[in-house]
Symmetry: C2
Subunit: 469 residues, 2 copies
Amino acid sequence: MRYFSILAFTLSLLISINVNGQTDESALKTIYSTSLTNGKSYEWLDYLSNEIGGRLSGSKNAELAVQYTKAELEKLGLDKVWLQPVMVPKWERGEKEEAFYLIGNQKKNVNICALGGSIATNENGLQANIVEVHDFEELEKLGRENIEGKIVFYNRPMQADLISTFNAYGGCVNQRYAGAMEAAKYGAIGVIVRSMNLRQDNFPHTGSMSYGDLPVEQRIPSAAISTNDANVLSDALKSNKDLQFYFKQNCKQYEDVPSYNVIGEITGSEYPNEYIIVGGHLDSWDLGDGAHDDGAGVVQSMDVLRLLKESGITPKRSIRVVLFMNEENGLRGATEYARVAKENNENHIFALESDAGGFTPRGFSFSANDTNFNQVLGWQLLFKPYLIHYFEQGGSGADVGPLKTETNVVAGLRPDSQRYFDHHHASNDTFEHVNKRELELGAATMTALVYLYDRYGVNPITKETEIKN
Amino acid sequence: MRYFSILAFTLSLLISINVNGQTDESALKTIYSTSLTNGKSYEWLDYLSNEIGGRLSGSKNAELAVQYTKAELEKLGLDKVWLQPVMVPKWERGEKEEAFYLIGNQKKNVNICALGGSIATNENGLQANIVEVHDFEELEKLGRENIEGKIVFYNRPMQADLISTFNAYGGCVNQRYAGAMEAAKYGAIGVIVRSMNLRQDNFPHTGSMSYGDLPVEQRIPSAAISTNDANVLSDALKSNKDLQFYFKQNCKQYEDVPSYNVIGEITGSEYPNEYIIVGGHLDSWDLGDGAHDDGAGVVQSMDVLRLLKESGITPKRSIRVVLFMNEENGLRGATEYARVAKENNENHIFALESDAGGFTPRGFSFSANDTNFNQVLGWQLLFKPYLIHYFEQGGSGADVGPLKTETNVVAGLRPDSQRYFDHHHASNDTFEHVNKRELELGAATMTALVYLYDRYGVNPITKETEIKN
């Protein structure tokens, strides 16, 4: 243990001399300058958001996004660009939802949207009493006698005093994902869920839901309601327990359809069999144009390879950009990419995803063993001039998760999270809410980390990766 | 020297034990939670922005803002609330500016706004040839023979590859501030300045300018042009050197008028003669509603005192909120506050300003000697859970600068700066561009630092401040 510590310490000194040398410092300076003065991500995002728009898996727009990004990657002079086929689910919202509640003859319209994967109501809509609950325990306590034949209204708000809004999301999202399957067990006939949004506004936020193993005949429609309307409804219920709630939605699940991951590669000059990948997901929800989720991650990842080239860096290892299809409602693209990588025995030493919005980057979270994580910590000072300070273990990205092994590193870019859920899965996730500089700083930050992993590899203490080659 | 170092080291250990104890950790937790769940800054900002609006010194709105903030402070149960009289300049924009350029008969309208403090054109406007320059050296080289009788167009953009947008601003703002006085020396008859904005858009950005010692009869009108139009004009000039530029503005400088700083105080329970102040400036430019500059700083500063109370903290030292009048075009409020503080022999140990927008806080910059700065560095870890990581020497805030002494500390809140100059001094500096959580995190971060200075004082090694009492 002691010997190991001394060794690790000595090696970490050596690493720190390496990476703090002029070369790395100046490489990062070039990368950031190039992104901020000659970045391409904002232009690409403009096209993806404004010329194509929302890109739900299986949609025409998703197909256009595949074609567009492939064509753009082909212009970059990479060594390879290809499409990786994958079957994806296809769900369509249909015509706009309607909802209101009635107190006597007084009708109050509210803003809802069907959750992704939900069934429709019947064509006349659904009207019933509505019961407010805050979690599944409360549901269980109420039991079938209070739930049967009614609509369940999940109204647990995101916790405002958590600094990471993703933690607040994590504490609420089971209402959206599993709310219908849980409520159906007690005979509920529909579900309305408070939008996963920390702000008070009128936007309903969609997102994936699941019926689990629930037989088809027991499935019930579920929709999200805006935070403003959730509060209004909750208030109304306080004085009118028996108010009637009505909603109508026209969504439909179709058979799976073919689609693609889009992949580009710069083949490594020294270790071509070691892969470093950067990615985001090409699909988005349908309500907005998917600029933050995850157009930003897509264009930043594309720009990583371009910025390496523009900065005059010739990668030693193979660098791939992977634009995953179907993160939002199936993760089929990520699953398929990992399956093929395994089948081909490809050694993915490092995988990085950007899927937390195009906001000012603050750092990264890593899924890595201690040795690998310590290696990263040795690089922290290089990022200080760019105000990148967050290097923490725990979590990466949904699409790169399946690539995790015991010895590699998977990571997620961590932008400032405060405004993310203002836009997430809602009709205001649109291009004008992405700031060009913030987006470009994210692309540069990803490129810088990819540059360091390319230069030093992963796990330099055991030299395992070099021995393998 | 050695003795001092050991002493400093020992004391820093003691300090770190103190401040890392449960009390400080839990105090900060309470402060942040209170701000995020029960903050008042957003509500105040809504009123200041949407019910009052732009608050240029000497205007009716500035007067309304004085009355409103005084009344709100009076509701907080502070020990004292008062107005500090100060004479301020009064400049009015008058009716909206007009500008275009002519190539032959073809007229292209451009977006301009008069710079604060500029004279008007005559009532028919001003039309002349226009010469593009990028700095005063270029102006000097061109000389009187190329400048006389023409309009000078300063078109040096903000440098995009600087990470701090304030540094980029610092590298350009002399064009706006001194452009007219420099151009007038060579016989120019008007000045058009590229807006201090890193984004390409159509908003002209105003801001202060000065004629220095230039005699009244030599003064020339000067205006800002939007970044989009600056590029369009520059392109047009490349192929049409002799194009005519026209602009008309109707602004006017009046006699100074009376106004006020608004001040509230919680008197210290142990060291009432040691003052800690937090502040922002109540005045703003007239084009937007001044939400970021500096409505945010005003309401955050007000909330610092309220959050201390709500968090159950009884300050040992006297804590003041100071809402300074006339930062934008005179700094009269800050100058008067510092003059009175000196006259009254008030010992201001720490002064903090928020005047860099209501964006996610990243940390602080300090104007402090090394001993005092080291004290702050000892507190850094307490801020880590709140992602506050930026603690640097250099710069504070315009309004607290005059309070600097050899032994005290003045500081500025440093929010994320990427979007600040998208809005700064332009008609899109409005309430909807401020995010509630980001604003509240800033208020909490300020409150946390004020709490620590209240608890530990400044310069604990020499104990100078305690001996004085």
